[in-house]
C-alpha cells in the first residue's frame, strides 16, 4: 500500500470515527455508513469480477491470436491423425489375420496328413486283399465241409471265378438306398423291381442284416475265430469319406501361406503409409514449433470454445463496467450525503482532511496510469525505430507493447492492419526483442543519466549473412556500449575474417582458450583475450 492509499484510509477512519462520536447525527450516520459499506463491498466485488473477466478476455484473445495462424496446421494435423488412426486400425486388423503357427497346425488342423493319400491307398489295397483272401478261404473251408447250402448262395459268382464282396460292402444304408431307387449305384445300371439285379441286391442286404442278428450258440467250428477284417473295412470306409480333404490339404496349406504372405505385404504397405504420414506430421509440427502437438491438436476443438469464452467475458465486461459506474455514482451520492451530515458537526474538519487525501490519491493513481501509458507508447516508438534499423530489408512489421489486466506488459508483432504475426521467423523475433532491449536501455539512460552496457551472446546465430552485416553496422552506429560475443568473424577454418573485421568501426577482441591445455583437466582451461583492432 502506497502512502496516498495509507493516508486516504487513515483519514477516512478518523473522519468516520468523528462522525460516529457525534450523537446528534448518529442515527443517520449509521444508516449512511452502512449503505456506504455495502456499496463499497459491492464495488469491490464488481471490480474483482471485472478484473477476472478482463484477464479472461485478454487470455483468450491471446490464445486465439496465437492459434489463428495455426488454424490450418491444426486442421491438417487433425486429418493426419485421423488417417494415422485409421491406418493403425487397418494394420492391426491385418496383423490379427496373420496366423503363422504352422507347427501346431500340422497337428491341430491335421496338415501333417498332407502326404497321406498314398499311405491310405496302400491301406485300402491291403485290407481289400485281406478281406478277399479271407472270403476265399472261408468259402473253400465251407465247401470242403460240405456246407452245400452256404455254397449255393455264392455258387453263381464262384462259377465265374468271382469272389463276392464282403457282406459289409456296400454298407446297409447304401444298399437300402439302391434298392429303394431300383438302381445299382456301384455299376451305374438300373435294377428294376423283380429283375435279377434287384433280387441280388435284396438278398445281399438280407445277408448283411442276418449277419448282424444275435448268433445262436452253435457247435460249428469256423475257420476264422476273429473278425478284425470288419473293423479294418469299416475304418477304410469311414476314413475314405475324408479322402478329398486329405488330397486338398496341400492346397489348403498353400492358400494359408499365401494368405499370410499377402497380409504381411499389406501390413508392410500400411506401415510404409504410416511412416509417410508420420513424416508429414513431423514436418507440420516443425513448421509450427510455437505450439506442441497436443496444443495444435486441441486448437481445433479449442477455437470454438475460446471464441465463446472471449465473447462471454467481453459481454460481462460491458455489463460490469456499467455496474461499476453505477455503484461509483451511488457511492458518490451517499458520500455526498455523508459529507453533508458532517458539515454542521465537529467532524467537518476530518471530512475536509479526508477529501484532500482522497483527491491526492486519485490524482496519483491517474498520473501513474498515464505515466505507464506514456512510457509504453514511448517504448513502443523507440523499439519500432530500432526494429527498422535492424531490419533494413524485408517485412518486419510493427512492435506493440500491450498492458495486460494483470499489470504486466506483452510484446507483440503486428502488421499495419493490426493483424497479429503469430510465428515470425527466428531472426525477426530476435530483432524484435533486441529492439525493445535497445529502447529500454535508451530510455533508462534518459531517466537515470548513466548508461550500462548491453551484453549479447551470439545474437546473430539465426541471421542470414546480409542481415548479420546490417546488424553489426547498426550496432556500431548506436550510441551505446555493447559487448557482443560472436563467432561471425571467424572463417570456416577458425581464422579471423579480415574483410568482415575491416568493415566495422568498433573495438574487436579475439577471445580463445589459452594453449596449451589438458583436454581432460578443466583447471587448465584459461581464456586469452587479444585486441584485434
Amino acid at each position: 500500500m502506497g502512502f496516498t492509499d495509507f493516508a486516504e484510509d487513515l483519514s477516512r477512519k478518523a473522519y468516520e470515527k468523528a462522525m460516529r462520536s457525534d450523537k446528534q447525527n448518529s442515527q443517520q450516520e449509521r444508516e449512511l455508513s452502512s449503505n456506504l459499506e455495502t456499496l463499497r463491498n459491492n464495488l469491490s466485488s464488481v471490480r474483482q469480477r471485472l478484473k477476472t473477466n478482463r484477464e479472461n478476455a485478454s487470455t483468450y484473445s491471446t490464445k486465439l491470436d496465437e492459434i489463428e495462424s495455426s488454424k490450418e496446421a491444426s486442421s491438417l494435423l487433425k486429418d493426419i491423425n485421423e488417417r494415422l488412426r485409421s491406418l493403425e486400425d487397418k494394420k492391426l486388423k491385418s496383423e490379427l489375420l496373420i496366423n503363422e503357427d504352422y507347427t501346431t497346425m500340422l497337428l491341430d488342423e491335421m496338415w501333417i496328413l498332407c502326404g497321406f493319400s498314398k499311405v491310405f491307398k496302400k491301406y485300402q489295397k491291403k485290407v481289400n486283399a485281406f478281406s478277399k483272401e479271407k472270403r476265399i478261404q472261408e468259402n473253400n473251408y465251407n465247401k470242403n465241409k460240405g456246407k452245400e447250402e452256404a455254397y449255393k448262395e455264392i455258387s453263381i459268382s464262384l462259377k465265374n471265378g468271382i469272389v463276392p464282396l464282403s457282406i459289409y460292402i456296400p454298407d446297409e444304408i447304401s444298399m437300402k438306398e439302391m434298392i429303394e431307387d431300383e438302381f445299382c449305384k456301384v455299376c451305374g445300371r438300373a435294377a428294376a423291381k423283380g429283375s435279377d439285379a434287384y433280387n441280388f441286391m435284396v438278398n445281399k442286404l438280407n445277408e448283411l442284416i442276418d449277419s448282424q442278428l444275435p448268433k445262436e450258440k452253435s457247435d460249428e467250428v469256423s475257420l476264422f475265430k476273429s473278425n478284425y477284417s470288419k473293423e479294418l473295412e469299416q475304418k477304410s470306409i469311414s476314413l475314405g469319406y475324408n479322402q478329398d480333404e486329405l488330397n486338398n490339404l496341400i492346397n489348403t496349406i498353400q492358400e494359408r501361406i499365401e494368405f499370410n504372405e499377402s497380409r504381411k505385404m499389406e501390413v508392410k504397405k500400411i506401415k510404409d503409409n504410416i511412416d509417410i504420414e508420420q513424416e508429414n506430421k513431423k514436418k507440420l509440427l516443425a513448421q509450427n514449433d510455437t505450439l506442441t502437438e497436443e496444443q495444435l491438436q486441441n486448437a481445433y476443438e479449442n477455437i470454438k470454445n475460446w471464441y465463446e469464452y472471449r465473447n462471454q467475458a467481453e459481454k460481462q465486461i460491458v455489463v460490469l463496467e456499467k455496474e461499476e459506474k453505477s455503484i461509483e455514482n451511488l457511492i458518490a451520492e451517499e458520500q455526498a450525503k455523508y459529507d453533508n451530515l458532517a458539515k454542521n458537526s465537529v467532524a467537518n474538519t476530518y471530512c475536509k482532511v479526508h477529501t484532500v487525501f482522497s483527491k491526492i490519491k486519485s490524482a496519483y493513481k491517474f498520473a501513474k496510469e498515464k505515466n505507464t501509458r506514456d512510457f509504453l507508447t514511448l517504448l513502443e516508438e523507440k523499439a519500432n525505430h530500432y526494429l527498422g534499423k535492424l531490419n533494413l530489408e524485408g517485412f518486419y512489421g510493427i512492435i506493440r507493447i500491450i498492458k495486460t489486466p494483470d499489470g504486466s506488459a506483452r510484446i507483440l508483432l503486428q502488421d499495419k492492419n493490426d493483424v497479429f504475426v503469430a510465428s515470425p521467423n527466428q531472426a525477426l523475433k530476435t530483432t524484435m526483442y533486441m529492439s525493445v532491449l535497445f529502447a529500454v536501455s535508451e530510455l533508462t539512460t534518459i531517466k537515470r543519466e548513466n548508461d550500462f552496457p548491453l551484453i549479447f551472446d551470439a545474437p546473430t546465430s539465426s541471421f542470414a549473412p546480409q542481415k548479420e552485416s546490417d546488424f553489426f553496422n547498426v550496432i556500431s552506429d548506436i550510441k551505446k556500449q555493447c559487448v557482443i560475443f560472436s563467432k561471425s568473424f571467424l572463417t570456416d577454418n577458425g581464422n579471423l575474417d579480415s574483410n568482415k573485421i575491416d568493415s566495422l568501426h568498433c573495438t574487436i577482441y579475439r577471445m580463445k582458450k589459452k594453449e596449451p591445455y589438458d583436454k581432460y583437466d578443466l583447471s587448465t582451461i584459461q581464456t586469452e583475450m587479444t585486441l584485434i583492432k
Binding site: 503363422e100 504352422y102 507347427t103 501346431t104 497346425m105 500340422l106 497337428l107 491341430d108 488342423e109 491335421m110 496338415w111 501333417i112 496328413l113 498332407c114 502326404g115 497321406f116 498314398k118 499311405v119 491310405f120 496302400k122 491301406y123 491291403k126 485290407v127 485281406f130 483272401e133 479271407k134 478261404q137 475257420l223 476264422f224 475265430k225 476273429s226 473278425n227 478284425y228 477284417s229 473293423e231 479294418l232 475304418k235 476314413l239 496341400i250 496349406i253 501361406i257
Partner: protein
C-alpha cells in the same frame, strides 16, 4: 465277451523312444517334463506335450518310408496313445483325436510282418499283432528323430523358423511326380 478292437488294444500301448533324444530334441521343442502346455508359446516351445514331437517324427519316417531299429536305453511318454491329441482344455489349441486313426491305418498298411489272416484265425494273438504295429511305429519315429537331429546339426536354427517343421514335411511330401502317383489303370 466283447472282443477288443485291434485299434483299441493298440491305443492302450505306450511306444518307446531312444532315451538320448529327451535332452537333445524332445525337451528343446516341447514341454515334456515341464507340465502344462498352456505356456508353450511363452516358453518359446514350438510344441506342447512330448508325444507331439513323436507324432511328427513318426510322419517323417512314414513319408520318407524309412525305419530305424531302436538301440540302447529307451523311454516312454506318460500317456498311452489313446490320449494323444486330446487337447480340448489347452488354450489356443484344437484337439486332433482322429489323427490316431490315421497313424493306426498307416501302421496296418506298412507292417508287412503282420499276417492278418493268421490274426483272423487266432494263430497269433492280438497282443502279438499290436506288438508288431508298435514296432513299426517306433522304428518310423526313431528314423524321424535321427532325421531331426541331423537337420539341427546342419542348421541349429532350422526349427526355430516359423515354417521350419512344416517345410520339412512338405519337402518329404511334395516330391517330384513319379509314375506311382498316376491313377492306376484298371
Amino acid at each position: 465277451m466283447a472282443v477288443d478292437n485291434l485299434f483299441d488294444v493298440w491305443a492302450k500301448r505306450n511306444p518307446k523312444w531312444e532315451e538320448h533324444f529327451e535332452d537333445s530334441i524332445i525337451r528343446v521343442y516341447t514341454d515334456y517334463g515341464v507340465g502344462s502346455s498352456e505356456l508353450t508359446s511363452a516358453k518359446g516351445k514350438a510344441l506342447g506335450a512330448g508325444y507331439e514331437l513323436y507324432i511328427y517324427a513318426f510322419f517323417i519316417g512314414l513319408y520318407a518310408n524309412k525305419r530305424r531299429d531302436l538301440v540302447g536305453d529307451t523311454k516312454t511318454f506318460g500317456q498311452p496313445i489313446q490320449f494323444w491329441g486330446n487337447l480340448d482344455s489347452k488354450k489356443f489349441r484344437k484337439a486332433y483325436p482322429r489323427l490316431r486313426e490315421y497313424i493306426f491305418v498307416a501302421l496296418i498298411a506298412n507292417t508287412d510282418e503282420l499276417d492278418l489272416i493268421a490274426l483272423e484265425k487266432s494263430e497269433i494273438s492280438v497282443s502279438q499283432a499290436v506288438d508288431l504295429l508298435k514296432d513299426t511305429m517306433e522304428q518310423y519315429a526313431n528314423y524321424g528323430f535321427y532325421f531331426i537331429k541331423e537337420k539341427i546339426k546342419e542348421n541349429p536354427n532350422y526349427f526355430y523358423k516359423t515354417s521350419g517343421f512344416l517345410d520339412l514335411i512338405l519337402n518329404l511330401v511334395v516330391a517330384p511326380k513319379s509314375s506311382a502317383d498316376e491313377i492306376e489303370t484298371l
